[in-house]
Amino acid sequence: MTINEQQDEYIASFEFIEDRFERYEYIIDIGKKLPPMDEKFKTPGNVIKGCQSTVWLHAEYVNGLIYFFADSNTQIVKGVVAMFVNIYSGHTPGDILNSEMYFVEKVGLQNFLTSNRSNGIVAMLKQIKLYAFAYQAKSLQP
């Protein structure tokens, strides 16, 4: 699935679920399905700054594709983080850097997190793009 296809799928799901609390259940469920993150990657260096909850994000670069691994100590944020992982994991640095993130606004994801915590969404996206930028630079090295 492309980055945009996954974003569109989330947008469609949220349109389908009308009840606010059922949407929370949906987000939390996405988090529960996220493959567990290896404890050795839960290092201070992998903590996303700007999140009130603790969020860890780790990336690996295999055969030209970036794979993301993440976790959070809170269920709602973990669900949000899982959406990001599902959208961006398994794509090339170029695809990630050239993509536009529109699902957060379309879904109204910021409304699911109080403003202090939605700042973390920005920090999360920034970190994903930073990984992509770094791996792209690495791949361009002679």
Binding site: S53, Q75, I76, V77, R117
Partner: protein, 411 residues
């Protein structure tokens, strides 16, 4: 004073904001330990001040300046009477509890702290009663010592006498904990400190709105509180200090008002209380604080306490019916004021707070600016529901139902 059974319905109508809806639900405001809402009496007093008497205090010879000065100084008298202080010049206006504590830490530290000395704090302090002391201690090569707390959120005073050794220069602690709601045994600690001639600063930010605070009876040497937590405006607070202590401290900030004479060679300082009030004060804030105290006194602090105690007891009983609910701090309503800090099962406080917010219930989540307490209990934080006189048992039912709904989503 109104009758002992307060008419909470009538009180609620005095708070316009309580009519608000949040996320489509009638607001249940349970973040009063962070800041209380303001009654119409306070809003009107400040509006009236700006409309009719606004003028800079103390310096003008004109009519309005005199009127503003009289109105502000009347509030100082009012605060002195509210705290049962001996003199009104023992009341210093500050920006709030934080500034009051910073003032004492800076000025007391400058005058009295020597290398190797210590300041004794409690383990349940707000960061604003920790960090100012750490800052001055670092500056003076002194240190901070801590009275421990037990599992029930009470101070462990067994070793207090030993902790009050000859190096301790001041003891600072809160009357009521903002994170746990514990009411601390002020008199016992003050008496122990005074037996060794050590002064005590009391952080009363979470006390003055719930309990009748008598500085002479408590024998506190310094006491701090904020207007905005007792139904008054933000940006104004109080430092009470015994005259004999305040007179020994150097000024905090330099500027207008705090001087007697200024030449480039030498400046002499004003008398109490103005020595500590450099610059134009928050006049409208003072007027608002005066109105708030009047409003509180009109209800009667004992009546406020009794009403809140009833709602608190009801809430604790109702919330304990919820599976996995546990109080962090004192379990007995008689030993607490204002705050119910809790956790439910292994649900993270942020998640619970989020789902409560979606139901129009405003609580606070996290460490409540008291990280050492959370470390003590090895928890990431708590959910804190904090009460004011306008909260009702029906709102406690909404809180309980809100938590139950959150459990179905998060559990």
């Amino acid at each position: 004073m109104r009758g002992s059974g307060l008419d909470v319905g009538k009180i609620r109508r005095e708070f316009p904001i309580l009519d608000r809806k949040v996320h489509g639900y009638p607001l249940v405001y349970l973040d009063n330990a962070a800041t209380t809402q303001k009654p119409v009496a306070v809003l009107n007093a400040m509006d009236d001040y700006y409309r009719h008497i606004n003028s800079n205090v103390h310096r003008g010879v004109h009519y309005l300046s005199q009127q503003a000065t009289d109105a502000c100084e009347a509030v100082r008298e009012q605060v002195a009477s509210f705290l049962h202080a001996r003199h009104s010049h023992e009341i210093i206006f500050t920006r709030g509890t934080t500034e009051s504590i910073n003032l004492v830490a800076a000025c007391f530290g400058k005058r009295f702290l020597q290398p190797g000395d210590s300041i004794l704090l409690s383990g349940m302090e707000h960061h604003s009663n920790i960090v100012p002391w750490q800052m001055i201690a670092e500056d003076k090569h002194a240190r901070v010592k801590v009275i421990p707390i037990n599992e029930s959120g009470e101070l462990v005073l067994d070793d207090l006498e030993k902790m009050l050794d000859s190096g301790v220069r001041l003891v600072a602690f809160n009357y009521v904990s903002n994170a746990l709601g514990s009411i601390n045994p002020v008199k016992a600690i003050v008496a122990a400190a005074h037996r060794r001639g050590i002064p005590v600063l009391l952080d009363a930010a979470q006390a003055v709105q719930h309990l009748d605070v008598d500085v002479q009876d408590l024998d506190a040497d310094f006491l701090a509180f904020s207007s905005h937590k007792i139904y008054g405006p933000t940006g104004i607070g109080v430092l009470y200090g015994k005259e004999e202590w305040l007179n020994q401290l150097p000024p905090y900030q330099g500027g207008g008002e705090m001087i007697k004479t200024v030449t480039f060679e030498k400046t002499t300082y004003n008398d109490l209380p103005f020595k500590f009030e450099a610059g134009t004060p928050d006049m409208a804030g003072m007027i608002g604080l005066g109105a708030a105290i009047r409003w509180v006194q009109d209800l009667g602090l004992q009546n406020i306490h009794d009403t809140e105690f009833g709602v608190m007891s009801y809430a604790l009983d109702r919330l304990r019916e919820i599976e996995g609910f546990r109080v962090v701090g004192p379990t007995d309503a008689r030993h607490r004021a204002g705050v119910i800090s809790f956790l439910v099962g292994d649900i993270h406080p942020f998640d619970l707070g989020e789902i409560l917010d979606q139901q129009g219930i405003a609580v606070r989540t996290g460490h409540h600016c008291a990280q050492p307490i959370m470390d003590r209990y090895c928890i990431p934080g708590t959910v804190r529901a904090s009460l004011a006189v306008y909260n009702t048992t029906a709102e406690m039912d909404r809180l309980a139902a809100g938590i139950e709904k959150a459990i179905t989503i998060l559990g």
